[in-house]
């Protein structure tokens, strides 16, 4: 079933320790690091051809901007009491955008809860994400995406699912790939190791992407693991692992795209550690000032992935102020429209608690269903 060819990674250019603002592609103890743009949008290595053309760049920028504006609105809705607890993806939009733009329609995405950019690229609507955090299961019944898994809250528990789906794809001889995204904290969990190990031993068409935003709620990356990089965790599983600048959507798109291609062509899984920073609180229920220095956060804004791509496009003369303004207006209007649709969506009927529990409700539950319905009617 598999036709394995050895993976050839790009040769490293020099062996140096990680820097806070790396300007070159290098290796950390055998783990390659990839970056194309510096934080003012200038290439530090020869950019791929596609990254000098307008359409692919704008496609990435669009979904990042849409996600940024959606995020601002969602936090505002939560503050006004119109949304439940919400997990922001501020500063991490490039990862989702690169994933979404790298995947093919019939691949399957297994998101954690900061991958809105990937979900939007794959047909999930803003209204659906709002419904999810707004407490309505319809937010997981994606109308235009029938295969992707919904958001996964229990950390790392979705990673084995991706292995199962990847196995099913391989079993059926399909050229499809499962992509699983999770945070730095997730790499400390057994579920992650079990799935990573199995993906290696079963040669599964599976791409693992770590959104390393440096913080697992209050626990920093430094404390999470003594491992020099989280990508090193691939070594024990015998699969390729690499670090990518998680604020550099071009490097991300390039490396994630290649990992997908390898998986699709039967060359097995890859672990990609995307290095970014959580510019937001963990969720709207969190106050990050309790455990991290606001100076640190302020300093990280220079790496804003949207600014970096926008500057790159401007340097190439592919993006005007007018286009920026127009796109902002367009997405602000879309966000408003989605918000209205969310706020106007009625709650699920009381009966729905029972009606999707099994394909056919067992007789033993009929009485409880009736009782819930009666109570629902009494409560108006």
């Amino acid at each position: 079933m598999s036709h394995l060819k050895p993976r050839i990674l790009k040769p490293d250019q020099e062996e140096v320790a990680p820097q806070t603002e790396p300007v070159k592609t290098y290796r950390v103890r055998g783990i390659p690091y990839f970056q194309v743009l510096n934080n003012v949008g200038q290439p530090v290595v020869e950019p791929p051809d596609w990254a000098q053309r307008k359409n692919p760049l704008v496609a990435l920028y669009k979904v990042m901007l849409k996600t940024r504006l959606f995020d601002q609105k969602s936090v505002a809705l939560q503050r006004r009491g119109q949304l439940g607890t919400y997990a922001s993806s501020l500063g991490q939009e490039a990862i989702g955008a690169a994933i979404g733009c790298s995947m093919q329609t019939d691949d399957v995405l297994f998101p954690a809860y900061r991958e809105y950019a990937a979900q939007f690229s794959r047909g999930v609507s803003m209204t659906e994400i709002l419904l999810y955090w707004g407490g309505n299961e319809q937010g997981m019944n994606f109308q235009h995406q029938d295969k992707d898994f919904p958001i996964c809250v229990p950390i790392a528990s979705h990673i084995p699912h991706a292995a199962g789906t990847a196995y099913a794809m391989k079993y059926r001889g399909q050229r499809r790939v499962a992509v699983c995204v999770f945070g730095d904290g997730a790499t400390s969990k057994g579920d992650f190791y079990e799935a990573l190990n199995a993906a290696g031993s079963m040669e599964l068409p599976l791409v693992f992407v770590i959104n390393n935003n440096q913080w697992a709620i209050s626990f920093s990356r430094k404390h999470q693991s003594k491992a020099l990089t989280l990508a090193h965790k691939s070594v024990a599983a015998g699969i390729p692992g690499e670090q990518v600048d998680g604020n550099d959507v071009i490097a991300l798109r390039q490396r994630i795209g290649l990992a997908l291609e390898n998986a699709r062509d039967g060359r097995g899984p890859t672990l990609i550690e995307a290095l970014t920073y959580r510019l937001c609180d963990h969720t709207t229920a969190d106050n990050a000032d309790r455990y991290r220095d606001s100076e640190e956060v302020k300093n990280q804004w220079v790496n804003d992935p949207l600014v970096r791509l926008r500057k790159h496009m401007q340097i190439l003369g592919l993006w005007s102020d007018q286009e920026e303004k127009d796109l902002n207006s367009r997405y602000l209007a879309e966000v408003e429209q989605s918000t209205r649709a969310y706020l106007q969506t009625p709650p699920q009927p009381v009966s729905s608690m029972f009606d999707y529990l099994y394909e056919r409700l067992p007789d033993a539950l009929n009485e409880q269903r009736n009782a819930a319905m009666d109570q629902g009617h009494q409560n108006g």
Partner: protein, 338 residues
């Protein structure tokens, strides 16, 4: 379909089959009939499972369908969920119930919720098999009966066969069921009885109790390996002139309470027998529902004959832990004193 697979289907009459062989037959039948059925677990392939439940299946159906996994229970359950969402029908094996507890996360947080949280967009037709229970002098952690943990989980089916015939028919039903099923196999009776089984692919109904013996004096309710002691107790009671009705619950969740209520309406007495610890066991649920819906039928308090609320002892004391025929007979007689 390969000739070898067709031969599996053609073999329709298997004389004198044990429970573990019946499990094997059901798996083979359904794998031959449905290419979406895959098996996964530890040592289930080349080795045929530590109890030989999957013996020969990898040879017949290949290592892509009878998958020896790394030693990772969470992975096994999690992979089954990912496979099921892709419309495969995974039958996953956890080698012993003592190793199933890390899997509860996958069951509660994912397998049983997937249909509900996606409003039916995705579903999880998977079976998780595990041998369980005491009585074979197994090492520590190999003898517990913790089925009640699973019966508490919404969206799940918990099924326990008590004979080769029900093992065959209920496992087929479990594999064909569109929702997740925990299928617990009482290992003490894997090779205790032999029955003639028609290997005809005929499933038995889930969500229903089986009436094994009719009687008008007392209702004995049990499941799994304890059915064996319960039937001996019923015979001893019959020799003393007391006729017992014996009910094999078989599907513990959802619970077919009606069959039990109908029986108790006739007998007025009920003894519930299970190997599992007493507190919050399934016996407690059955007794509670009898109190709610069948109190007026009862001539005597409901009796429970169960394992103790203790840690399962190592095997030198396992017989002291397990309910036995004498305890069942004594409990039945107590109900008949009223």
């Amino acid at each position: 379909m390969s000739n070898e697979m067709q031969r599996w289907i053609k073999v329709t009459k298997m004389a004198k089959t044990t429970l573990v062989d019946a499990i094997n037959l059901a798996l083979a039948y359904e794998m031959a009939a449905d290419p979406d059925v895959v098996l996964l677990g530890e040592d289930i392939g080349v080795n045929g499972g530590v109890f030989r439940a999957t013996d020969g299946l990898q040879k017949t159906f290949g290592s892509q369908r009878v998958i020896d996994t790394p030693l990772s229970e969470t992975l096994i359950a999690g992979m089954a969920i990912g496979m099921a969402a892709e419309r495969l029908k995974p039958v996953a094996e956890i080698q012993f119930m003592g190793f199933i507890y890390s899997v509860i996360d996958q069951i509660i947080n994912h397998a049983t919720r997937l249909r509900n949280r996606t409003r039916g967009r995705l579903s999880c037709p998977m079976v998780l098999r595990a041998p369980f229970g005491s009585g074979i002098h197994a090492p520590e952690h190999h003898s517990e009966s913790t089925e009640a943990l699973f019966a508490h989980i919404p969206g799940l089916r918990v099924v326990i066969p008590s004979s080769p015939g029900r093992g065959y028919g209920l496992l087929l039903a479990a594999i064909r069921d569109p929702d997740p099923v925990i299928f617990l196999e009482p290992k003490r009776i894997y090779r205790l009885h032999k029955q003639d089984i028609e290997d005809n692919g005929q499933a038995l109904p889930l969500d229903t109790c089986f009436l094994l013996r009719e009687g008008q004096d007392v209702t004995l309710v049990s499941w799994g390996a304890m059915i064996h002691e319960t039937i001996i107790a019923a015979e001893q009671l019959a020799a003393m002139g007391m006729q017992s009705e014996v009910i094999d619950v078989a599907t513990l969740k959802p619970l077919d309470m009606q069959t039990i209520l109908d029986s108790v309406a006739k007998t007025g007495r009920c003894v519930i027998i299970h190997e599992a610890a007493r507190t919050c066991g399934i016996g407690a649920e059955i007794a509670a529902q009898l109190a709610e819906q069948g109190l007026m039928s009862l001539f005597a308090p409901v009796e429970r004959v169960t394992g103790f609320d203790t840690v399962m002892p190592l095997f030198q004391l396992e017989k002291e832990y397990m309910p036995n025929v004498d305890r069942i007979v004594a409990a039945a007689k107590r109900t008949l004193e009223n």
